[in-house]
Symmetry: C2
Subunit: 470 residues, 2 copies
């Protein structure tokens, strides 16, 4: 069997019953982490812009946008969910391939699930299958593909979304092969977009395009049959000689890449996390603040400088990809929350001063979970800390309670605290929900939104009532 056929068969045959308990729990953790990100960033101006630009082109508004009052067609809702969930770079990461895996898959699934009754079992099953397809396609081309400049979340993501929606649509084997093909031929997303809204656009478009691929295949729109492994297929075109197709089928159905998902404590490029940990440790241990720090020397893995070497910043989004900014906020403020990546934060005089007084050196002896932070203080002292394992990495994961806190801190930006708690509780038990729309209702604020349309969630109330009565 070709790799394309292997993945198609896997998706067709995958059953909820066959997902081990630990993987089910990790799916819930991934969805809790995702949903907090999607709801929390939904009020951002980037979403206002995207909705204002595209809602005039939306089909009948049968789908909810997480964290927003507007309703759109499910393809546009997929796009918006994808943009918001990745907007603050606070979503999950699989370290083995650098994919932010949940956004492309869950963004399409939540849009789909908001339009009709769907059991939590089917939802979680489709999510796990889509996640595996996406991650394994990524494994096959990583790292050559990423090194070449592709934003792998965009390119691998569209496969995952197509597989997940294709599963729910009940595609035949031939249709699933075509859906994968139409996904492959839409795989896109350049790392040149990092630091702009173009970056979160990638998982959004992946979700939307994968969903579209499944819809087209369902009606018989054909595609190449060997879209992944063919001589002009995804693997060779987007990774040249640097691909390894054997990684697609390895342990498929017995192991799950989902087991190795990680969740960020800080909303920025993950390679900055050990630097932030070290900076916060110094801040807390020595009571640092404005004026304390004269100069900073960082020693980091070489990749950090490849990804996050910008120092001249004006926009909050840029701060997420500046190791200098991240050292500065840790040392000056002792935290790295959403408020540390606003335009105000990157333009804050003290943060800017410390950022400009920071230098960074790459050292191949350090892993990407490690950093040395050395701060020269105004009082003449020099402080130094070595971070061996950054918080949130695969060996030091966020606990379920830390995920609860992270969810709440984000969700309350869009919905009342009590509603956020209700959404959180429902999300942990998503696999048991008779109708996922109950969770969708809890994830959407009241009000008309910026774009006039049907009453938000009007026809969803029925689903919610049915549940509370059952």
């Amino acid at each position: 069997m070709s790799e394309t056929e292997t993945l198609a068969s896997y998706v067709l045959n995958g059953r909820f019953e066959d997902i081990p308990d630990d993987v089910r729990h990790e799916a819930a953790r991934s969805l809790v982490n995702y949903l907090g990100c999607a709801i929390g960033a939904a009020p951002d101006a980037a979403l206002d812009i995207a909705i204002r630009a595209l809602s005039p082109y939306s089909g009948p508004p049968t789908a909810s946008v997480l964290g927003r009052a507007e309703r759109l067609d499910p393809l546009h809702a997929s796009l918006m969910n994808g943009i918001s969930s990745h907007l603050y770079d606070f979503d999950d990461t699989t370290p083995q391939n650098y994919i932010h895996p949940t956004s492309p898959v869950a963004s399409a699934l939540f849009a789909y699930a908001s339009t009709m009754p769907l059991s939590g079992r089917d939802f979680v099953n489709a999510f796990v299958l889509g996640f595996e397809v996406e991650s394994r396609v990524g494994n096959a081309v990583f790292p050559a593909h990423y090194d070449a400049g592709w934003h792998i979340t965009g390119t691998a993501g569209v496969f995952g979304a197509a597989a997940a929606i294709g599963k729910l649509l009940g595609l035949t084997r031939q249709q699933m092969v075509w859906a994968i093909g139409l996904a492959a031929t839409q795989a896109a997303g350049l790392r040149e977009m990092f630091g702009s809204m173009g970056k979160p656009f990638h998982p959004g478009r992946s979700a939307q395009n994968g969903y579209t691929a499944a819809l087209l295949a369902q009606q018989g729109f054909t595609a190449g049959e060997r879209s992944i492994e063919g001589a002009r297929g995804f693997a060779v075109v987007q990774a040249a000689a640097g691909h390894d197709l054997s990684k697609i089928g390895a342990d498929l159905g017995t192991d799950f890449n989902l087991r190795r998902n990680t969740y960020k404590p800080y909303p920025c490029g993950i390679v900055n996390h050990p630097t932030i940990d070290g900076a916060i440790q110094l801040h807390d241990a020595h009571g640092l603040g404005a004026g304390s720090v004269r100069a900073v020397r960082l020693t980091v893995a070489p990749l950090v400088l490849d990804l996050c070497n910008q120092k001249d910043l004006t926009r909050g989004l840029q701060g997420k990809f500046s190791v200098y900014h991240n050292a500065a906020i840790g040392l000056v403020r002792g935290r790295a929350g959403l408020d540390e990546y606003t335009d105000d934060a990157v333009n804050d005089a003290e943060v800017r001063r410390v950022r400009e007084a920071t230098i960074a050196t790459g050292d191949a002896a350090l892993t990407e979970d490690q950093a040395v932070v050395e701060a020269e203080l105004a009082d003449g002292r020099t402080l130094r800390v070595f971070v061996e394992q950054s918080l949130g990495n695969i060996n030091k994961p966020l606990s379920d309670h830390q995920l609860d806190d992270k969810f709440r801190a984000q969700a309350v930006r869009a919905i009342p605290a009590a509603q956020a708690d209700a959404a959180l509780a429902l999300c942990w038990q998503v696999a048991e929900l008779p109708d996922v729309r109950e969770l969708v209702i809890a994830s959407v604020p009241a009000g008309p939104g910026i774009v006039p349309g049907g009453r938000p969630g009007a026809d969803l109330q029925a689903a919610g009532s049915a549940r509370s009565g059952g």
Copy 2:
């Protein structure tokens, strides 16, 4: 100025008055050729499928689909126009970069122009500017990009569509840079799709995605500023070391790539054309027919075997990319029209017999416009012809009258002959039309289409009436 800024400025400053007469005439030829292809293929099952799959997700049906009675939102109409115009591989080609250039740009423009009054001057100006952007982006990455497996019509096309729609939307310079960036980060399309509906999907999606990029940029959705030339930008990511950015600005505004556009006499991969010419010459000169030919030997440029080396065919679309099939139809039928690329034609017993008795050898001494066709006949004779310049190539272009004939032969598949003549006459004078909707009306059949919706072209009648009264 960066290459991205150079293109943005070119589009912002480009005026119809500055387009030389010969380029205006070539624009009309390109649009006549395009429109015939789009109308003629519109009744195909591929369009039925795409419309059935996606019309439930269409926004308000303010736009016409060329050759179809259904109306959709302009983004979906762009997609459908792109699919139909490239479906039979009968649209144009710029030999310097292998792009089929008009489809991505004009598919978006006709969708846009169907929704509101737009003068022919503005329409043609946007077309010429979008064409140049697309072609120059292609020049910068060709041939490495194409050789790597990219369908350059899809990847370069999205830039052209974004530029053309961005021009009509009146984007600022900053917005145009973002539109180009959002186009760059959607550039996609694998050659692995050749022989399936995935191939015409590429210019369709390019048109739709470029249009979307312009709409988002207009509202302030940001993108990387150096999307073409940046370290992780389009050129390096999609052509590695094989790019040459100097080709983007070379002679920009003084020369026009549009001058070097070519139009196909046969609806199949252009590299098969000299083989077809030779086969038809032998057929006509010697009265060949069923049973005449025992075996065939072709000598062709090596690229032909790279692109069109399949012999085991079951679908009509595959025939377009089989040099064996193309030799067979020329020898057996003496023609290569749309009817020679149906499922029936590739499965025709006599065509199949001759195809299977054909061998092809690559010879680097031949150009892609040349071929040697040698036929061994049942009566023992061996015929041989050398084609030095295939019909339709840049040195032997189709005349305006040949384009008329080509237009009519296609358009009558979707609309009555008198209406086709009217559309043809309007298209030749498109730059003089006060409202391009007059041409759109002439390009759309009566009837409800397969998808229920508003009365086809209802609100367009006003534009037509106004014109005939003026």
